[in-house]
């Protein structure tokens, strides 16, 4: 004979609990945390190199970067004088909150103003895993196509800002900025939009201003 037991528990509850612990810790330590997400190859690491160059001497910043393999991204970022910790997820398609807690220990996050988490390049899985960040930021490059916000709605819905990258290539593609933004705003009416070419260095000031303003707002929250 079998009998039924009520469980009534969210499957990802452990991650949600760990994320909440991270959030409280980051608030206590006074560090503003961004979870930067995109598909692979959108330009996250290039943007973080530019950000390290521009802000690394003005604010105490560090980066946690997640990839399935190699520590190439951490090496690229730390070359600009900013501490970077690499998380290798093995086959994992996303970063989980407990991995952020360990990485933050290694970075002595209590001495930081700004911590940027570069998530694993993936438009699906990272959306389900809260890391305890203040803001999620989504990056979409115009070579990926303007249909992506509609096809992968959750990550666009959850983000505070949308970066459209590789805008220097837009004239050579059929990327329709207005169509991409119409879908993104249908999902998320208050999402901030920043257009740039991280590689060419165009439009970066708007990103730096956005980060510094959000950092200041978090400090006064």
């Amino acid at each position: 004979m079998s009998r039924e037991i009520e469980v009534a528990r969210d499957v990802l509850q452990d991650n949600t609990d760990n994320a909440e612990a991270n959030r409280q810790r980051f608030r206590r330590e006074g560090v503003y945390v961004v979870n930067l997400m995109s598909g692979p190859g959108a330009g996250k690491t290039t943007l973080l190199e530019r950000t390290a160059e521009a802000l690394g001497k003005r604010v105490r910043m560090a980066v946690i970067t997640g990839d399935i393999a190699t520590r190439r991204d951490a090496d690229r970022i730390s070359r600009h004088g900013v501490p970077a910790v690499q998380i290798n997820t093995g086959g994992g398609c996303h970063i989980e909150a407990h991995q952020i807690a360990h990485a933050a220990d290694n970075l002595a996050a209590g001495n930081l103003d700004l911590l940027i988490i570069e998530n694993v390049g993936n438009l699906v899985c990272p959306a389900e895993f809260d890391l305890g960040e203040n803001d999620k930021v989504m990056m979409l490059s115009c070579t990926e196509g303007h249909d992506k916000p509609g096809k992968y709605p959750l990550m666009f819905k959850e983000s505070r800002a949308l970066i459209l990258n590789k805008m220097d290539l837009q004239p050579h593609t059929n990327f329709d900025v207005e169509a991409a933004l119409a879908d993104a705003r249908a999902l998320n009416p208050t999402i901030d939009v920043i257009k740039m070419s991280a590689w060419k260095g165009e439009g970066l000031q708007a990103w730096f201003d956005w980060l510094l303003a959000r950092m200041a707002a978090a400090r006064h929250a």
Partner: protein
């Protein structure tokens, strides 16, 4: 994809709850799965079969209860189903998500009388 880490948590939770309730084996499990979650039911079922192998959850029936998306319009407050990009009758797309984000273990069925499989790891 992350269906494997979801399936692993389901197996771990089922074993924990079975232990607390004197059950030897978990023979059935019921999961609420929202339409908006990034979890694909067939992939989840396959991953569940793989990660439960050699545990007390092996062979468990997995009942996935599909939860359709339910939205409330930000402009007129009307509730509707369907895709976020399909506009409400008033013309506004998107809205507040009332249902569709569920990824929740509802119940497990435990059985005290079924013998443990050899090499039980759970």
């Amino acid at each position: 994809m992350h269906e494997t880490s979801v399936a692993q948590r389901m197996v771990d939770t089922a074993i924990e709850v079975a232990d607390q309730n004197g059950g030897a084996r978990v023979v059935a499990m019921r999961l609420l799965l929202g339409e908006m979650t990034c979890v694909e039911p067939d992939t989840l079922s396959f991953a569940f079969g793989v990660v439960s192998r050699g545990t007390r959850v092996e062979g468990c029936t997995l009942d996935i209860v599909h939860v359709p998306t339910r939205l409330r319009c930000r402009t007129c407050g009307a509730e509707r189903g369907g895709d976020m990009l399909e506009a409400c009758a008033c013309g506004t797309p998107g809205g507040e998500v009332l249902a569709g984000r569920e990824l929740r273990l509802l119940t497990i069925d435990i059985d005290e009388e079924v013998a443990l499989p050899a090499g039980d790891q759970g």
